[in-house]
Symmetry: C2
Subunit: 211 residues, 2 copies
DNA sequence: AAACATTGGTAACTAAAGTCACAAACTCTT
DNA sequence: AAGAGTTTGTGACTTTAGTTACCAATGTTT
C-alpha cells in the first residue's frame, strides 16, 4: 500500500495498523468519491491528487467549498461516521486521486491509542474549519472579480502550473454563478493583461500572478 | 456550580470532574467572550443564554456565523486550544450568558476516559460544521430578502417570542450589509403584511411567521 | 428645555450581478 | 465533410444591492 507522505506523519505502530485496516482506493478525474445523502462509514485520507468538496442547496445549485490534497482528510466525514450520519457534501476527484479509507471503528480506537493520530485529527478539524471560514469570507466580503482571481491562484497552487485548464462553464459552476458573467470578468482580466485566454485554458501572467 | 442541562448529558463521574476543573463564567448582554487573535486556552460549554459568533475580513467587515445556545459548545475553540492557536472568530453575549470553561488539559484526558464526552465533542464538531455550511448556503444562494426572513425566524426561535427586539442597524451589521438596505427590505415585508415595524422592535405576523 | 445621539424613512443614483438572445469558432462523431 | 455538441464573445436589458444625502421622530444627557 502506498502511504506517501503519511509515513512521515505517524508512528510505526500506527502505520502498520493503517496498512492492515485501511482500504486503498483510486479515483480518476471526475469520479464521484462521496455524494449528498450517502451514509459515511469511512474517513478518507488523501495520499495523492486533489479532491473537490461541494455543497448544494435545495434547488440544486452547487458551490465549491474547498480542496483536499495530499495528507488532508475530510473531518466532516470523521464526525459524520462517528455518528452514523449522512453526508452533507459531495466530493469529486479533480485529477487522479489515491486515498486510504479508514473504517469508523478504528478511528475511535486510534484516537486514544496513538497521540499522533489524535493530533492529526485535531489539526484536520481545525484546517477544515478555517477553509470554511475562508470560503464564507470570500463569498460574503469579496466581489466576484476578486473571487475569480483567488480561484485562479488556488488552481495554480494546486497544479503547480500557471496554465489553468478549465472551461468558463466549470468556473461558473464552482463559484455558483453563470457562464456569461465569468466570461465577462475573464475578458476584463485579459484586457488588463493579467491573463491570456485560450479554449479550455487560461494562462496566468506575471507579475500579477507572480511566477 | 450550575450545570443546567449538562447534568443530563454526561455520566456522574464526568460531571464531578466538570464541577472540579471547569470554570463557571457569567457574561451580560454585549460582553465580549472571545476576540479575534486571542489565544484559546479553554473550551466554553454554554449552560444558559445565547452566544453570537462572528467572522471578520481584513478590512474589518463582520458577519454573523451562528449562535451557540444551551449545551452547545464552540468546537473551533476545541481544535484551536488543542493546538495552541489564536482565535479566528469573535464571540459576543446575545443576552445573559452562563458558561463553563474547560481547561485544555482536561479536554484531552476526558476524550479517552469518558465516552459521553467524546460523543459530545464529536456531535459538537458536526453541528458546527453544519451551521457553517448553512451559513455558506444562505450567503451564496439566497437573496438578501430571504436571508433577512431566515434571520428573523432564527431570532424568534432563540427568544421564543414573535417580537424581535433589534435595530435595523444591528441587523445590517450581522448580515454584513448596510442599514438603508435593511430598512428598505423591512418596509417591503411590512407592506406585504408579514411584519409590523416599531422603534427597536419588529413584530412577526402569522401566518407568514407561523405562530 | 436645549443639545446631542440614535433610529428609521425615503429619494436618487451607481455598481454589480444575473438573464436572454444570438453568433462564431472549435471539437468530435459518424 | 456534414452535423451535433461544446466553448467563447458580446450586446442589451433587468434585478439586486450598495451609496449618498437629507430629514423627522424618538431618546438621552446636561
Amino acid at each position: 500500500m502506498n502511504l506517501g507522505i503519511l509515513s512521515q506523519l505517524f508512528e510505526p505502530a500506527l502505520l502498520r495498523e493503517i496498512e492492515e485496516f485501511g482500504q486503498s482506493q483510486q479515483f480518476k478525474e471526475g469520479d464521484l468519491i462521496m455524494d449528498y445523502g450517502k451514509y459515511v462509514r469511512m474517513m478518507p485520507v488523501v495520499v495523492s491528487g486533489t479532491v473537490k468538496v461541494y455543497r448544494r442547496d435545495e434547488t440544486g445549485k452547487e458551490i465549491l467549498l474547498y480542496y483536499l490534497s495530499s495528507s488532508d482528510s475530510c473531518s466532516m466525514a470523521y464526525s459524520c461516521c462517528m455518528e452514523a450520519k449522512k453526508s452533507e457534501v459531495k466530493a469529486v476527484a479533480e485529477d487522479h486521486v489515491e486515498l486510504i479509507a479508514i473504517p469508523h471503528t478504528k478511528l475511535d480506537e486510534w484516537l486514544c491509542k496513538y497521540p499522533s493520530w489524535k493530533n492529526y485529527i485535531m489539526r484536520s478539524f481545525n484546517e477544515r474549519f478555517i477553509e470554511l471560514l475562508k470560503s464564507i469570507e470570500s463569498i460574503a466580503f469579496h466581489k466576484l472579480d476578486e473571487r475569480l482571481v483567488e480561484y485562479l491562484k488556488e488552481k495554480k497552487r494546486l497544479s503547480g502550473s500557471s496554465v489553468v485548464k478549465v472551461s468558463h462553464h466549470l468556473i461558473a459552476d464552482e463559484l455558483a454563478t453563470s457562464r456569461v458573467v465569468i466570461s465577462r470578468l475573464l475578458k476584463q482580466l485579459e484586457n488588463e493583461e493579467k491573463i491570456l485566454l485560450y479554449r479550455n485554458e487560461i494562462k496566468l501572467m506575471p507579475p500579477f500572478f507572480e511566477d
